[in-house]
Amino acid sequence: MISGVLDPSLGKIKLNGSSKRLGKIAYMQQKDLLLPWLTVQENVMLPFKIKKNDTKNNFKDMLEKSKILGIEEYLQFFPNELSGGLKQRVSLLRTILQNSEFILLDEPFASLDAITRLELYSWIEKIKEHINKSIILVTHDIEEAIFLSDHVIIMSSGKNNFSYELPITLEHPRNTKITINNEFFNLKKLLLENLRKVKSID
């Protein structure tokens, strides 16, 4: 709904005062959704092709960011030749290259194994430095939320409309070591306590 694919049945979602959101919010999903008949390069250039600004500058931009994400050597590969983690990295690059004001990540790591997931966290930490965009991450993983975010919001479904906000003050750039320090632990405790209010967790 945030991305603009669906419209709310009640109320309005506005982006800078306008409810027209399609094409303005980059949306990355749990499935990589790479087109299997296009190479990695053609896939990540898709947003430029659609907006008809398939220029040299944009190509350079793509090359630069593909290096940061470590996929520059796979550009001529087809998606079915890549591993799950790599596919998601390509999908992430394609999302970033949409150059929209907002980036929406909808459980992008849910289908990955735990180790690949940790790897992707580091890639996201890295690429975040190079793009100056707000990112909304939807996740069901508490550690993931703390590790990647500056601000966590717990939302509940249903009628009681519970929501809870928690700023994450951990310093950037973060690495996986912080997941075992005290500050991280306390944040996790706080989030869990608030989650208990909406879900039946012991």
Partner: protein
């Protein structure tokens, strides 16, 4: 290692071996005159006929091939257009689809004589029969393929700001290709049947015509030579579609 090697050999070699053995046995039985040569000519006699009348046979193969290609071309062209339009408009789908499906219960054997009365014994009636028989698989292939889209990918393109035209050109047409080619494969085989049936019923040229006139004259070598050419042509056509399919469908 030896097993893999043997597997590879047996995959291509064994079918060939069984084929050659069958032809060989057939030839020996013919030489021993187990059956009359005008009933079942020997493989060698068929080859001789193929060689002796090569100009004659080639000319008539061209006739049949021409009918098939033209009919198939129009079937692909109009079938794709109608299949495509039916995905765009529910009105078109509801008014045409039931009749396209219903039209398939009419056997082409029943329709061909009327078409020959209407359009003459020349090329036109043959082309129309080929068209009618191959239109259905192509049209349904395109229609089904375009409907079997991927909603997640569509949404992804929409969030990139793609318009309807781009969603078709980037995604939907590519996703429809496998289904289109399945239809085309069926069409390519049945189009050969269509052409021969039409020639059989009323014509002055083509491989079907040769079979029809040579049979009653007990010129069985010629019938077999035509059958051989026809199957070769049908296989070639099928192969052509497969090559095109491979060229167009990448990475799936």
């Amino acid at each position: 290692m030896i097993n893999i090697f043997f597997n590879k050999i047996s995959k291509s070699f064994l079918p060939l071996l069984s084929f050659i053995s069958l032809i060989f046995i057939w030839q020996i039985l013919s030489v021993l005159q187990v059956f009359e040569s005008w009933l079942l000519p020997s493989p060698f006699a068929i080859l001789v006929e193929l060689f002796d009348s090569k100009h004659f046979l080639f000319r008539h193969t061209l006739v049949t091939a021409f009918e098939i290609f033209v009919g198939l071309f129009f079937a692909i062209f109009l079938g794709s257009i109608l299949g495509f339009s039916m995905t765009l408009s529910k009105i078109l789908e509801r008014s045409f689809l039931p009749y396209i499906i219903a039209s398939q219960v009419i056997p082409i054997f029943a329709l061909a004589p009327i078409l020959i009365v209407w359009f003459g014994a020349g090329f036109l009636s043959k082309i129309i029969v080929v068209f009618l028989i191959s239109f259905f698989p192509v049209c349904i292939g395109v229609f089904d393929g375009l409907r079997r889209s991927n909603i997640d990918m569509e949404n992804m393109l929409k969030t990139m700001g793609a318009n309807n035209y781009q969603i078709y050109s980037i995604l939907k047409i590519k996703l429809a290709l496998p289904s289109f080619f399945s239809g085309l494969k069926v069409a390519s085989v049945s189009s050969v049947i269509g052409a021969v049936v039409a020639e059989w019923i009323g014509s002055k040229a083509g491989l079907g015509w040769i079979m029809k006139v040579s049979g009653p004259l007990f010129h069985t070598e010629r019938v077999f030579a035509s059958i051989l050419l026809l199957s070769l042509f049908a296989s070639l056509l099928f192969l052509l579609v497969k090559i095109a399919e491979k060229k167009f469908i990448k990475g799936v």
